[in-house]
Point group: C2
Chain length 496, copies 2
């Protein structure tokens, strides 16, 4: 009943933001729920956004020297325990395979007791353990380093409360896993990939993420440092969009991965890992969409230009011939869809493509054919405008789409900056949060896990990161909470 759903009205953002999010997703036909708890189906329109994200990121990974590989879905249960913090972080949400066969009974099939595995297998929640086991076989000398590998894969984390794209039991992601001869190199790699993520978010998703480092509380289980990119959603909440971890020698020690350095001595290898997931689609939706539905940046829109022919009576052949010409002028450079369905009126088509977030709509009727133009409308609104159909049409469309992409980023930066508050006292933050429900708070802070926990319990705000930029502002100031000398500038926010 995707079709039925798509005609439902969309709840306005200011009425119920969470409901609005669900409505936008349903009306754009991006996903459907599945009969498996917490797992969603990525429908063609939603999956195509992921394909665009993947293609762009993959090129960036390859340009920075990484190669793709593929490691097993299953991880022996005992591997997880090798790194003490890692097992602590993931054991509670693991899907566990215990049998390798089903058996027919009178009540249907059941796991065959005779086919119980000697050691249960965990469906990967992340792949550090299995990959570092393999690295132990591949690395023996400094000549084998650095090892720069990425994997595109599905992972499973048994979450109790799920929300499409933001938190699902199974999700699609990429995980980079690199091995280095020195601490400095590994730290540089973790920061380099953070920058790759940041550039991607700004340039391709038009999501102006802030880069920073996580506190110990929010660090990846097994990392020495976790870097993060944090995006601001339209309700002023934060969404962690990706992380890059400096893992120190933790996994190398757990799996005994050493290398002979240039001096002939054995050392443990230094590591990073970094990942982004289908959650990025949630970030795109919540950064750009409006009360009319999905808004997609042209760079990741599965359909960048939709052409809607309009005809009456005997003008169809003439209009369609012209539309074919327009499509062929654009088809090589853009993702173009001609919507020639004859069971829908133009208005219904506009409505549908608007909800699906197509950046540019072209309407072509007999008068446009006669005038040698197409009538255009940006998904971001504004007046309709004409473009002449000639050899430079693709260039003009390119400029228009670039303009939309730029406009989205500017709008998102403005929204973000209008919702970052500098406060000196905790009371101010708490009051504002209670009043507005959202916003980011950039504050001088004395690093302290207990105080962090107390604040979270009190007003549901957590430290999203110590932003990489502007840490010098902490010098000489006092913590907004404890009054002790500030060690960092921190960004507090409620987060997904």
């Amino acid at each position: 009943m995707a079709k039925a759903e798509s005609k439902q009205p969309i709840t306005p953002r200011d009425q119920d933001y969470a409901r609005w999010y669900q409505d936008v997703i349903a009306s754009a036909d991006l996903v459907d729920s599945s009969p498996v708890r917490g797992c969603m189906v990525l429908k063609p329109h939603g999956f195509a956004v992921w394909e665009a994200i993947r293609a762009d990121l993959d090129a960036r990974f390859k340009a920075t020297g990484h190669q793709n590989a593929y490691f097993p879905l299953f991880i022996p249960q005992s591997f997880l325990s090798r790194e003490a913090e890692h097992v602590e972080g993931f054991a509670k949400e693991c899907a566990v395979v215990t049998h390798h066969r089903l058996k027919a009974t009178d009540d249907g099939v059941v796991p065959d007791p005779a086919a119980k595995l000697e050691e249960p297998l965990v469906v990967r929640p992340t792949s550090e353990t299995i990959i570092w086991h393999m690295y132990g076989r591949w690395i023996s000398s400094w000549r084998d380093l650095p090892l720069l590998i990425n994997q595109w894969a599905n992972v499973v984390r048994w979450e109790m409360r799920t929300r499409p794209f933001l938190r699902t039991a199974e999700f699609l992601w990429q995980e980079g896993h690199t091995a280095h001869a020195t601490r400095a190199e590994a730290e540089e790699e973790a920061r380099r990939m953070l920058q790759v993520y940041k550039d991607f978010c700004w340039e391709t998703l038009a999501v102006p993420v802030v880069t920073g480092v996580k506190t110990a509380t929010e660090r990846f289980a097994g990392a020495d440092d976790t870097y993060t990119i944090e995006g601001m959603m339209q309700n002023g909440w934060a969404l962690q969009c990706g992380t890059s971890h400096f893992l120190g020698q933790n996994f190398a020690r757990a799996f005994d991965v050493t290398f002979q350095n240039r001096e002939g001595e054995l050392e443990h290898v230094w590591a990073t890992s970094w990942g982004v997931s289908t959650r990025l689609i949630g970030a795109v939706i919540m950064t750009h969409s409006d009360d009319q539905g999905l808004v997609l940046p042209p760079a990741v829109a599965p359909v960048q230009v939709v052409i809607v022919p309009i005809w009456r009576g005997d003008r169809k052949a003439m209009v369609m011939e012209y539309v074919d010409r327009v499509a062929s002028l654009l088809g090589g450079r853009f993702r173009v869809r001609v919507d020639d369905r004859d069971n829908l009126k133009p208005g219904a088509k506009y409505f549908e493509w608007e909800r699906k977030g197509v950046p540019l709509r072209m309407e072509v009727g007999p008068r446009d054919v006669e005038g040698g133009v197409v009538m255009c409308r940006s998904r971001l609104g504004g007046d309709k405008f004409k473009l002449p159909v000639g050899d430079d049409l693709a260039d003009r469309v390119g400029e228009t789409l670039d303009g939309i992409q730029r406009q989205l980023l500017e709008r998102a930066v403005a929204l973000r900056d209008a919702h970052i508050f500098e406060v000196d006292r905790y009371d101010e933050m708490k009051a504002r949060l209670q009043e507005q429900g959202g916003g980011w708070f950039r504050v001088p802070w004395h690093d302290d896990a207990e105080a962090e926990a107390a604040i979270k319990a009190d007003c549901k705000a957590t430290i999203r990161c110590y932003p990489l930029e502007g840490q010098e502002d902490a010098a000489g100031r006092t913590c907004f909470y404890s009054g002790r000398p500030a060690t960092h500038m921190a960004i507090f926010a409620r987060a997904y």
Copy 2:
């Protein structure tokens, strides 16, 4: 120790074909075994072949109107039982998830008894059941049809005897699942995708597969008809390279998926499914490689051209500058690698890239720089030849690679045709199989599952298919086994 292995000699094909296959894979650094039974790690060089296959096939699927989507990894256990033959075919090899949490004990972690799932989940061995459940929600009218969806995914089948690429517990594949309003349309789709697979194998993999239909014995569990593409390996064995199934209304009935036709009546939907997997890489290896190692068709070679600079003393700068120019002339059109490692001699590099199947090697020394040429050698042997380094270098290299691609296909067709035998009597086939171990036998046959089983037990040959071409040859002939009137022309072979 991939590096150590890669220096091991490769067992010649005529000495031990199975061992040769393992040696080629190890020496090309394509995969590694993993600590998880039957699961392999696709290393970067092996995974890059899969990426090339995927990109090419994906474009062919999209060109025939299919869209990608993604369905859950897990399938409720009860779904599998809905289609009687389907559960029969897959229940015996399923990985079953029974718990969603691990718990720490003194002996390490164990599945937490308090986190036992109410209904176990099966890790998808194929996705017909979950997809047809979803199709039931998406299809209600003839307007929703056809539904043409493909998924790139990992699947798990708990195989007892595994072999890299050919049969592994987890493998990567694509599975197309389509829904149609009429039997004729679904049958046409199943045949169309078979043809897409065939074209891909011939044109891209240079593997001259034969198309045919499976007997009831070898049919997919739940299909009315299974079409297949069968490749001949160099030892005369057959490898099933892909299948396309006409599923009739079996899954629509099992999941109660109906649509209202144009006359307003409810009918069950017609279905197809079709898939190819990382097994295709096994087909490529066993079709083209030789006693020196891997041979890859240029269309799927991760490195199409390797450039090896050769210098002594102070000539390095001059050679490298020239090599950079050559690389930049080729880089936009081909996958080029410059091997400028300074800890290996040129001979060692040639050896390594030969084993990795790079189609074209270029050697560049000071004399080549002075002569304005590069010295080339095809992976298929023959004399070295010079190509002038000028504006048409890329065109010349393109012709050379096209020639290699063509030569591989011709060689494979010749090998295939030399090993297809037409015999009139079963004794002849059995004797020849015992003597030679391989070969395909094209014979007049009276369709009979019991006779098929008897032959398999007697000489390990199975009916690979009733080939689509040449069925008319059965007319008026008698079965080579039973002497009854022939119903089909069949191809018998030993198969992986």
